[in-house]
């Protein structure tokens, strides 16, 4: 038998692995059912004025999807989180890259940046409202700041982690510092960047929702808060469910982009979060 023939007779994926995938899937669905049952049990025993009934939540979801209310609130929250996220993320990437070329300035400002991590951002909302008024600005400041820190810290660490020998050789090969930023450091720090993004995406949505509790008359945050004020527990649960779905969709998008950008990586895909 030639090697090609031998290769053809080998199964592409052993049955054991396929079976394991099936088992994992069954387990996931099982856990989902257990969760649903616990939720239903909780609603029944605590009473619907504390925990909404999962089936009523589902019915309400369908109802507001029909009326267009769901799309409207989701759009508002999505829009503000996306803009805030883009601003915070851009600052979090650009700043460490700019600082790379200025080591002395970096050493000088690093302790201040690290100290400002400790400032409770949500506590600044009243000040933001005072300074920027009741519009999108205070929301964007809050989201931007909450996104900025994890991105900044991860990109900063990513840049520091780049193998110095790769940089030396790239210079020997004639690469300018800006080319090194784009061709070497950018790629080397991507895994760090994406772990920062995986923290920031849910943060951006949470920040938008919290800002909407306080400012504005639209958005998922407004919907939840409005429902609470009317003792509509089902409504609050619907808002939370929509927020979770939003984060999950955005995370899936992120994983997809990460996979495409780092197709070269010899990595165990099962490790993914």
């Amino acid at each position: 038998m030639t090697t090609a023939e031998q290769a053809a007779t080998l199964p592409a994926e052993p049955d054991g692995i396929k079976w394991r995938h099936v088992m994992v899937r069954v387990g996931q669905i099982g856990l989902g059912l257990v969760f649903l049952w616990l939720w239903k049990w909780g609603a029944n025993s605590a009473g619907e004025s504390y925990i909404a009934d999962p089936f009523k939540v589902w019915d309400r979801l369908i109802e507001i999807a029909r009326t267009g209310e769901l799309a409207r609130h989701t759009y508002v929250t999505l829009r503000i989180s996306a803009i805030g996220f883009a601003i915070g993320c851009a600052a979090g990437v650009v700043l460490p890259f700019a600082l790379r070329r200025m080591p002395r300035l970096t050493d000088a400002i690093e302790p201040y940046i690290m100290a400002s991590v400790g400032v409770p951002k949500y506590a600044l909302i009243p000040l933001f409202i005072l300074w920027f008024g009741i519009n999108d600005a205070p929301k964007l400041w809050l989201i931007g700041l909450l996104v900025f820190y994890p991105v900044f810290i991860s990109v900063f660490a990513g840049i520091r982690s780049v193998d110095g020998r790769l940089l030396d050789i790239a210079r020997v090969l004639g690469a300018s510092e800006s080319r090194i930023s784009v061709e070497v450091i950018w790629h080397a720090m991507l895994p760090f960047f994406f772990s920062g993004l995986k923290i920031s995406v849910p943060r951006a949505v949470s920040a938008a929702i919290i800002a909407e509790f306080l400012v504005g008359f639209e958005g998922i945050g407004f919907y939840i808060e409005n429902a609470r004020q009317q003792m509509d527990v089902t409504g609050a649960f619907v808002g939370i469910a929509v927020a979770i779905a939003l984060v999950l969709v955005m995370n899936a998008l992120l994983v997809w982009i990460d996979k495409r950008l780092s197709a070269w990586r010899p990595m165990d895909r099962h490790m993914e979060l």
């Binding site: 004639g174 690469a175 070269w264 010899p266």
Partner: protein
């Protein structure tokens, strides 16, 4: 032949940490010169500062004393910021580890210096392709470094430097980490490519056989702090058959003399 590269009284010690006694000299008063088109090999005990020497010539590390003169111009080696790594692409450097960019394919790695230097065009691309063929990497162009064998990565790293044609190439035990059979093939590849272009090569190794087989001249370095222990002109005629070099009568004599100097 005129010296293209001259190392004069070069010394190196790494900065000591505060409160400790000064770190020892790695290299002390090392002087030698390399002629244009010469293949110089440098042998010495491991940990003898050979890599540090090449790093200083490539200007990615500073010197503590002495000077390095390239094309009659002395390079400032005092502080890290005035270094010009690779001296404007005049000095190529094939390091011990292949240092390929893992997110670039074999071909993209070979094209990297051309792109970085703004010299990527149809002609240089074709040159890159011919080098890939010359070292038998055809069919592997689209593979990432982690998908290549150790020998293939070495070849990629070698032609990544050859592709932009620097007048001087430094090599730091480039074939150290591959098996004996692959190593002989790589040595043959290197000699064949060198024969085509006759560049100036400074090749560091701890393998005496390799040092003799490749060189026009071999320098032997002492233990730390490194200085020159001996110099040997290799008169074995070219082209050489690396597989048969061991049986060459001159080889045995050279091997004995060099062996005696390598402590």
């Amino acid at each position: 032949m005129a010296a293209l590269l001259e190392v004069r009284n070069l010394s190196k010690r790494f900065a000591s940490r505060a409160g400790r006694e000064p770190s020892p000299w790695i290299i002390r008063d090392l002087s030698f010169s390399v002629a244009d088109g010469e293949f110089l090999t440098i042998v010495g005990p491991s940990g003898g500062g050979k890599t540090t020497l090449l790093n200083m010539i490539a200007q990615i590390d500073t010197a503590s004393g002495g000077e390095i003169v390239f094309q009659s111009k002395s390079a400032p080696l005092g502080d890290k910021t005035s270094l010009k790594p690779g001296l404007n692409c005049q000095i190529g450097y094939v390091t011990q580890e292949d240092n390929l960019l893992p997110w670039r394919t074999c071909l993209e790695n070979v094209l990297f210096p051309l792109m970085a230097q703004g010299r990527l065009n149809d002609e240089t691309r074709a040159h890159a392709q011919s080098l890939i063929r010359a070292v038998g990497l055809e069919g592997w162009e689209k593979h990432y470094p982690h998908e290549l064998s150790g020998g293939m990565r070495k070849r990629t790293s070698l032609i990544r430097t050859l592709v932009y044609d620097p007048p001087v190439i430094l090599m730091d035990e480039p074939f150290g980490a591959v098996d004996a059979q692959t190593r002989v093939q790589l040595q043959e590849d290197l000699l064949r490519l060198w024969n085509l272009g006759r560049k100036t090569i400074v090749f560091v190794t701890h393998d005496i056989t390799e040092a003799i087989a490749l060189a026009d001249r071999t320098l032997v370095l002492t233990r730390q702090p490194s200085s020159v222990a001996g110099e040997h002109i290799i008169t074995i005629p070219r082209p050489r058959d690396i597989r048969d070099i061991l049986t060459h009568p001159e080889f045995v004599d050279l091997y004995r003399r060099i062996r005696a100097q390598v402590q």
